[in-house]
Every structure is written in C-alpha cells, then in structure tokens.
Amino acid sequence: MRRKPFLKPLACTVLFLALGLGGSISSLYGEEWPSKPIQIVVGYSAGGTSDLVTRGLAEPLKKILKVPVVVENKPGGASLIASGYLAKAKPDGYTLGQVAGNSITERPFFMQVPFDPVKAFSFICQVFDYGAGFVVKSDAPWKTFPEFVEAAKKQPGKLSVSMSGPGSYLQVGIAKLERKVPGLKLKVVPFKGGVDAVTALLGGHVDSCFQSQEWRPFVESGKLRLLAIGGRERLKDYPQVPTWLDLGYGVFAEAPGAYAAPAGLPGNIRDKLEQAFKAAMGDPKFKATMKSLSLVEVYKPGKELYEDLMKMYEENKTTIPQLGITEQ
C-alpha cells in the first residue's frame, strides 16, 4: 500500500514553526539587546526638518548599535499622533520616537493629548532645539526689536505677526511676551505651516513673523531682517542679534526636540540608548546635516531633560491659562 505523502508537509510545517518560534524565543530568552531592527517614529512627513534630523541620526546609530535603524513617518496633529502611537508601544527598546518637548509642556493645555504628559515617556535625550526668530521685512522702519515693540505699543492690536499654529510654542511665546511687556498687543495671524507664515511676510500681508527657521534663506539674501531670537541663546551665525532674555523681557520660547521610548523601558537599555545617541551626535556627517538644516544642536541627558520639562509643565499649569489664548 502506498504510504500517504504526509511526511513532506509535516516536515515543512515543523521547520517553519521552528524558524518562527526560534525567532521569538530568542527575544523571550532576553537575547542581548539590540537583536532586531529599531524603529524611530517621527510625527512629521518625510523631507521635513524633524524627519531629516532623525534620518541623519539613524545612519550613525546603525553603525553604533549594529542593527538597522528605520525611520517611520506618522504625520498629523502636530506630531501628537506619532507621540500617541509611541506611548502605546511596547517598552522593549525597539520602538523609539521623536517627541517635541512642548508636546509635554504646552500642548496639553490647548488640546487633548493622546498620552499622559507626565507618565508616558522615558526620555533618552534632547538632540536639538527648533529655535525661534522674529523677523520683519528688510525695508521695514524698525531696525531693532525694541523699536518694533515701541511702535507696537503706540498702536495696540494693529501690528500683525504671523506664525504657524495652533497651540504652537511660537503662539505661547508671543503671548508670554505680551504679558510681560505692558501695553504690547499684537495681531496674531496663524498659518498652517512655517513656510506659509514666512511667505505671508514676504508678500507684505503681515508686519512681522515669529517662526523657527523657515526665514533663514531670506535673511541670508537680505529680504528679511532678523530682529530677535526667542530662545535662550543667540545663534552662532547671527551673534549680533539679541535674545529676548538679552533685551530684558524675562521671557523665552524654546522647543526642544528629543527622543524617547514608552515609559517602562528598562533602565540599562535606556542608558545604552543615551550613550548611543550621544555618540551619534558626534558623527561628522550628522553635524553637517544639522548645520544645513540650521537647527540648534543641544544635548541634554534624558533625566535632566525630564526634570526641566516637568518644571516647565508645572509652571505652565498656572501661566498658560492666564495668557488667555486657550479659549476663543
């Protein structure tokens, strides 16, 4: 009697099962991390600044960690959708994400965020700051920022400033400035993106623009004039332009760009990641990328970053509602 040909399919099935299980068993037994590709989620579309920084980091990270590092774009909701996705991911060190500092410190006061700002993330480190510059057209009558402020005070609510919104750190920054400078009231015109905001200024539709760095090529070519920096430090290529702190307003607007993992990430993996990121930031190609993107490189270890973010968060709990921009 002919033997039924079951050995072959049986053998195949066992083989496949073995291969499949073998893969997952290796991670069950805690094979040395990292043993499979690492994914970094970015909340903006490919080609944008946030995306390019991450891709610039991914290359050296791949060499350091010796596993593929893949960037995945999940744009939407001003990076909140990606952050929400990250918060729900498994804290096994294979899913990381780029998290904007003010998703933690500011946005929760404007909108519902899909994560707990205090508890959701285990921060690896800060890599950069988006920066913020206040620009006007080069043929405008105001040559310095105090001049602009004086002119604005004389006609409250008349001079306009464009920026990307809503609920952005730029909007919060301007509001905080208005609070600190008595008599200053600007007309805030939000746009859907930084490029649109700068374009509006170029076309003369607004008087000024407060934006991260989309104004760079135009300041360089002389079409726009940089009056002030919103961040804490002056820009290396424009050392003569003062910050708001330099000018004595006691206010700053910063937007840290950091990388994090879902909370619950084992401490030793987090530390290894922090070391890897720090080393990656030293890579010359990455430094060149940062330069071409005109971003301010800022390294802050995860623990320190978290503490600073929490401090800001607590402060904003009282400050932001007072600014009166959360309800319309």
Binding site: G47, A200, L202
Partner: protein, 504 residues
C-alpha cells in the same frame, strides 16, 4: 540671448550620462507610483530620499523631480481604466476617462492624456524659463484675502461640474464642505467633529476620500452585475486618438495648460484645483456641455494638461524664491538642504548648474515619459480584458495598500471603505461625487483664509474690496451669476417651463 546660453548650459548638465540615468529612474518610478493608487510621489520621494545622500545634488534633484511629474502621467491610467484616481489631481479624469474606457475607447483616452500632458508640460517649462522671476513675485502678492476670494470663485466654478440636478450637486458640495471641516481648528486648536478619535484630528485625508468615493464605490456597483459579464465593452476601438479626437481636444489642451500653469504657481493652489477648474471651463464653453461625463475627449484632455502644467509650474516658487508651494516641493526643499544647498532667492546665482540642469531635465524627462507611456497603452488596454472577478480583488488590494502607505494608518483604510459605501449609495440615488471632492478641497482653504483675512482687517469685510485681486474676483463672481440668471430668463421665455437648473 543669455537665457538661451543658460539653457544650452543646462542641457549640457542634463545630458551627462549619469544625470540622464537618474532622470530615467526618476520618471520610471514616478510613472509606477502614479499608476498605483494611493501611494503618491511624496511616498516614493521620501523612500528614495536617503538613497540620494550619496548622489550629487543635481542628480538627486533631477531624479526626485522626475518622480513628481512622472506621477502625473501615471495617475491618469487608473482613473481611466478602473475609475480609481491614482492621485487627487486625477479625480476629474475619472469623470470622462472611465466612461471612454467602458465604451472601448480606453486607448484614445490614455493617448490623449499622455500627449496632452506632454504638450502642457512643455508649455509650462517654457513659461518657467521666461517668466519665473516676475511670476513668483506676483505669487507672493497672494495673501489670505486673495486666497479667500479665489476659493469663492472656485466654489462658483464647482457648480459647473454638476451634470444632473443642480440641487443634488449643491447638496454634495455642502457635504464636501462639512467633511473638510473635520479636524483641529487652526486658530484655537479645538477638535471639530472628531468624536474623540485621535486619527481624525488631522481631518479626513483626501486619499481615503477620493479612493473610496470613486474607486471602491465603482467596484461595489460593478459587483451588482453578474461577474461573468463584461464590465468593459469587448470591442476595443483603436489604440490611439483619432484625427477627430485631436481636433476636438486641441483647444482643451491649450486652455488646460494655461489654467494649470497659473494655478500651479500659487502656494496651496496646485494640480487638484487646476484639474477641476480646467474641466469646468471646458464644459462651460463647450458646444455640447450635456455630453460631459459620458465620455468626451475634452474631459480627459483638459484636466490632464492642467495637472501636468501645474506640476511643472510648482517648481517655480521653489527654485526662484525658495518657497515650496506644496508638500512635494517641501520634500524637495528638504532634499536640497541635505545636500547643503539653501533654496532661496539666490539659488539661481549660487547654483546655476542646478537650476538650469533641472529645467533642462524636465524637458528630457517629459520626452522620456511620452516614449514610455505610449507603447504601454496597448498593455494597459489588455488589462481591462482580465475577467472582472479576477480584476476587482487585485484593484481592491492595490487600493488598500495604497491608502495605507500614505500615513501608515489602518484608520485610513476604514475611512476609505466607509466612503466607498457612501459613494455607492450616492451613485444609486444620482448624487455626484465630483462636487463633493472639489468642495472638500476648497473648504479648508476658504475657511482658513477668511478667518486670517478677518484677523488682518480686525473684523471688517471691506478688506476684500480694498485690494485689487479680491475685488476683481468678486466682480467676476457677480458677473458669472448675472450671466447665469440672464440665460435662465432667456430660456424661460423661449421654452416655457424649462428649468435652467437642469441644463447647466
């Protein structure tokens, strides 16, 4: 003449074998991407962006650009063959293109789309070369009030799209407007109509919307018939446009190119608006407007010319001013930054090889695309002969993959299916999807620019009259409306009881 010298220089750059190679790869991938529904040039460009790190800047931009305008060629293919817009700018091509395919005239439709695209792109490139600088400065003059009134003109133009009952068309437009408002409010970040769903904070994406409304609903409708029956008439009447086709379409191609060129320069304007506008204009000025939507060649030629002209024109703000007018250009912007090139007003002076090389490559690329697409027509037409019960699962699969690839979101797939079902019922009751799609595109821009304008004017509507462009636009709208009422009265007098609403 200096421009001629620069052009020759540009061709020298482009015709280097390595750059020709990048151009070829770019347009090949672009065509493929355009044909595949859902995944658009942005997706492909972002995937290839890291690969360009190791390539010269000129080569990188040539390749990435090729993907973009290549996709405009491919996008019409699925619109015509299976009523699935490969891209938002190919939605209008579905209206007549698909009908032509059902009548066995897919070949001529594809042919006129390819030729029309080529002619339009060539005209746009000429426009780019000679008018780049003054045009982009002119485009800067478009601020919120100008956009607002432009969108209003768009809404009026939209009414010309409706084929059947005007009431139903308007209802669909209102529905489209409503859908467009789902999402985060730009001014106070409050979610609207999101029902708490995080995924809806960005609103309903255009890809799930149009793929569902046009593509999925068409599949559902076709499934009602016995699957063995031919969805497409068996007799393929010729593979290329006939002389008559050319005669009919030549005006459409020229007008479409013009419309596409000017709308493409405007940031935020672009190919989608251009395709709708050119279709509506053709229909309005045609001798047989009632035939639009049943398979009229102008209905394919005009939007295809428009979206290609717009794609070429959208390079103008980027290359001459450093302002990317749409997402694709923004990606290119990023690509340039990575190579250490700062896009901006000084780009032409600092990197003339890049600027003129890219311009020349556009022409070379378009020629390659024509050579690529024409022979493929025969192949595409044969695809239609695949029995529908085998074809539709393939189409469905491509749609699902396509819509997922945009945002890596499964929610988008559900949305697409939902709109497919909605579209199915809409078709059953004679409601047209085209006004909905156009209103959906116009809605956000209209609302945002209106509110921005009012902030700028501190609440006064006079801002729309004090500036030249909005004033002209408003007068145009009033003029169009008066003309419409006039022709209604005249018809009423000659044919008592005729309803102008049904004949527009």
């Amino acid at each position: 003449m200096e421009t001629l010298q620069n052009l020759i220089f540009g061709f020298q750059v482009t015709l280097q074998p390595i750059n020709l190679f990048y151009c070829l790869i770019g347009v090949l991938i672009g065509t493929l991407i355009g044909v595949l529904p859902g995944i658009g040039p942005v997706g492909a460009m972002s995937l290839l962006l890291p690969a360009t790190f190791h390539v010269s800047p000129v080569g990188a931009v040539i390749m990435l650009s090729g993907i973009y305008y290549g996709a405009q060629y491919g996008g019409s293919t699925t619109s015509i063959l299976v009523n699935i817009p490969g891209e938002a700018s190919s939605v209008v091509t579905c209206l007549d293109g698909y009908q032509m395919a059902r009548q066995g005239r897919a070949g001529p439709a594809l042919g006129i789309a390819a030729f029309g695209s080529f002619i339009a792109a060539t005209l746009a490139i000429i426009g780019l070369i000679f008018m780049a600088s003054p045009l982009s400065n002119g485009a800067l003059g478009f601020g919120p009030p100008e956009y607002c009134t432009l969108m209003c003109v768009g809404l009026v133009v939209l009414t010309f799209l409706a084929q059947g009952s005007m009431y139903k068309g308007l209802m669909m437009a209102l529905f489209g407007l409503l859908i467009s408002y789902i999402g985060l409010d730009l001014f106070n970040a409050k979610p609207r109509f999101t029902f708490g769903a995080q995924e809806l904070q960005e609103g309903v994406g255009i890809v799930p919307l149009v793929m569902g409304l046009f593509g999925i609903s068409e599949i559902l409708l076709n499934l009602e018939q016995p699957l063995r029956r031919e969805i497409y008439k068996a007799k393929i009447k010729g593979l290329f446009p006939t002389f008559q086709d050319w005669m009919d379409a030549k005006g459409a191609i020229l007008r479409g190119s013009l419309v596409g060129f000017f709308l493409g320069i405007l940031p935020g304007g672009g190919a989608v608006l251009a395709s709708f506008a050119s279709y509506a204009i053709e229909k309005k000025f045609s001798k047989y407007p009632e035939k639009f939507g049943t398979g009229v060649i102008e209905g394919v030629a005009a939007p295809e010319a428009a979206n290609n002209a717009a794609a070429q024109a959208s390079f103008i703000p980027l290359l001459s001013l450093g302002i990317p007018p749409n997402v694709v250009m923004a990606l290119l912007f990023g690509g340039l930054l990575i190579h250490g090139i700062q896009p901006g007003p000084l780009l032409i002076q600092k990197h003339p090889d890049l600027f003129w090389g890219v311009v020349a490559s556009m022409y070379v690329g378009n020629m390659m695309l024509l050579a690529l697409n024409l022979p493929l027509i025969g192949m595409w037409v044969r695809v239609l002969k695949i029995p529908y019960h085998l074809l539709f699962p393939l189409i469905l699969l491509l749609c699902i993959i396509g819509v997922y690839s945009v945002n890596n979101s499964t929610f988008d797939i559900y949305l697409m299916v939902l709109f497919g079902v909605i579209g199915y019922f809409m078709q059953k009751f004679d409601f047209e999807p085209a006004p909905l799609a156009l209103a959906y595109v116009l809605g956000p821009m209209l609302e945002v620019s209106l509110r921005q304008s009012l902030i700028m004017s501190e609440g006064s509507f006079l801002i729309f009259i004090h500036r030249p462009i909005p004033l002209v636009s408003l007068l145009l709208i009033v003029g169009l409306l008066i003309a419409q009422i006039f022709s209604y009265w005249r018809k009423k007098r000659h044919v008592p009881g005729a309803s102008a609403l049904g004949t527009i």
